[in-house]
Symmetry: C2
Amino acid sequence: MTLTAVIMAGGKGERFWPKSRTNLPKQFLNISGNKSMIQQTISRLEKLIPLVQIFIVTNELYAELIHIQVPDLPIDNIIIEPIGRNTAPCVGLASIIIEEKYPDSTMIVLPSDHIIENEDGFVHILKTAIEVSAEGNNLVTLGIEPTYAETGYGYIESSKIVRELNRLEVHKVQKFVEKPDLRTAESYVEQGNYYWNSGIFVWRNKVIQNYIKLLMPEMHQLLEEMKLSFSMENRNTIIKKLFPLMPDQSIDYGIMEKVDNIYVIPCLLGWDDVGSWTALERINTKDDNGNVIIGNTLNVDTKGCIIESNGKLIATLGIEDLIIVDTEDVTLICSKDKAQEVKTLLKELKVQNLEKYL
Amino acid sequence: MTLTAVIMAGGKGERFWPKSRTNLPKQFLNISGNKSMIQQTISRLEKLIPLVQIFIVTNELYAELIHIQVPDLPIDNIIIEPIGRNTAPCVGLASIIIEEKYPDSTMIVLPSDHIIENEDGFVHILKTAIEVSAEGNNLVTLGIEPTYAETGYGYIESSKIVRELNRLEVHKVQKFVEKPDLRTAESYVEQGNYYWNSGIFVWRNKVIQNYIKLLMPEMHQLLEEMKLSFSMENRNTIIKKLFPLMPDQSIDYGIMEKVDNIYVIPCLLGWDDVGSWTALERINTKDDNGNVIIGNTLNVDTKGCIIESNGKLIATLGIEDLIIVDTEDVTLICSKDKAQEVKTLLKELKVQNLEKYL
């Protein structure tokens, strides 16, 4: 059995605009530490998996960036989606490409742009997840123990029946649930058997392929067609032709929600999806006035703000609860409670033919 | 009788930071229109006075800027104060320098950094003020009819006895009063015989010199000493030596408040002292959301803001009542109600050894 990883790196990170841009989205930025998020994701995985067994699914725009940021990654390990689809086609495509090289493999599927502080804990949990995925037709997911009633995440409801393995709890998944409203999120946190859906999955390639065949037969058909026509030279041509026919479906919706034997391993790990600018408040230390300040600033009578300078002096006076992000050609000033709506600015840029700022 | 003007142009315009800087203060900036404020001040005066009879009092730092912005002004008409003093020494020094060239002159004294929209009205009022100043020992000042209860200006209380001249009212001044609190300002506006102190004065040079001799004898002494030692070559040397001994007093306090025959001519004229960033709300048209927007911006859910871009895209979302000013090396984000306190940032810059941003 070969251990492999599939990093999903096609996201646009729009809520991190204006730092995240069409040609340099969030996963390629240093949000914390001195490596980009995708470099950090790879470093974490390399504690368990050699780089040659790590695959990155992305789109044409970012292939070159990945090559620059992860120069030792074999070019063939960069899988290019010709068109943006959801996670199910991404997983399916990766699974047949990996199968070709490693006929019997276990796959870790994970996003490219999350933070995990506790790397040793992460490795320990992955090892345990691999153990669980080795049994029967199990699928395994990592569930983040909610520290507050977040409404921006999907939740995993777990059965209360628990098995202990390597000092970790392994729960059977009861249900995947969509992003809740605040009251529902609060009840989830209170009930204690709900976890944030981390988007990190572990399964044997054969098992996920079986589920695809069973539950997404049309996609399975397309994948089979791809497999038959693949050669080293024409891989991208075949993908370009057939991938656009794939359904725009998430792996959660297409498979996970319809399968019985899924297990969740709850963890904390200092995980953060860094979903919007307010994430900086969770991953950075605040000053005495509750501000997160990065770079060259001068702040008087300034409270609860997130301020990132790109070199220019950001001088603030008498302000509260604002996000201020200065980049080469754009400065964003946004109230903190609109952090999730930064995308509306991107829409407006398109309306006003200001695509150069996207 | 020669008509002369003295423009006071030594101010720092600190409340207009970061656009106004130590080496380029407000009077040299284009705040409205396509000329700097001092250029606009001179244009207005030139409708009445030839440039050769216009004098500018400033300090060493700004002499070169004046020469660049007003290249046709004779170098000798730039009077350099070696040290920042209040308006009384400024008027005194200008008066003896002008007297040397124009022994019998009427002086218009005015700030360099105010806006006056109605230029023809301004000329008409100046002509009338000159007429009034020709009588006896009269001093004349322009009083701006208050349009609201501003607490940032000094007021002039006028006697209710009115004389009409050239379709204008001429009131005797009752009293100069300091910046009032809001309630007092409101009562001034209600009473109707209070005007904003514009800082624009008209008098005959001989008359003001007599008042200086009478009411500021020590300053008079110094001015006499200067007059005696002046030659074309050593003017600046003499000023450097004696000017620092001058009292740090305003002409209002030193003379105006102590004299009986002062007259105020009330006017509107679209005057604005452009005292802080909120002035932009008075001199610009607001958009439908009450914003004043200058330059490259993208604004969604943005209300009551003053935003000036220097080229960079200023993108705003979900904000209200903020001042945002972007310059080459500084971006200011300030709540509108702290516009008067921008100076505290400048103090803080000094504390933090960040003088390069001053």
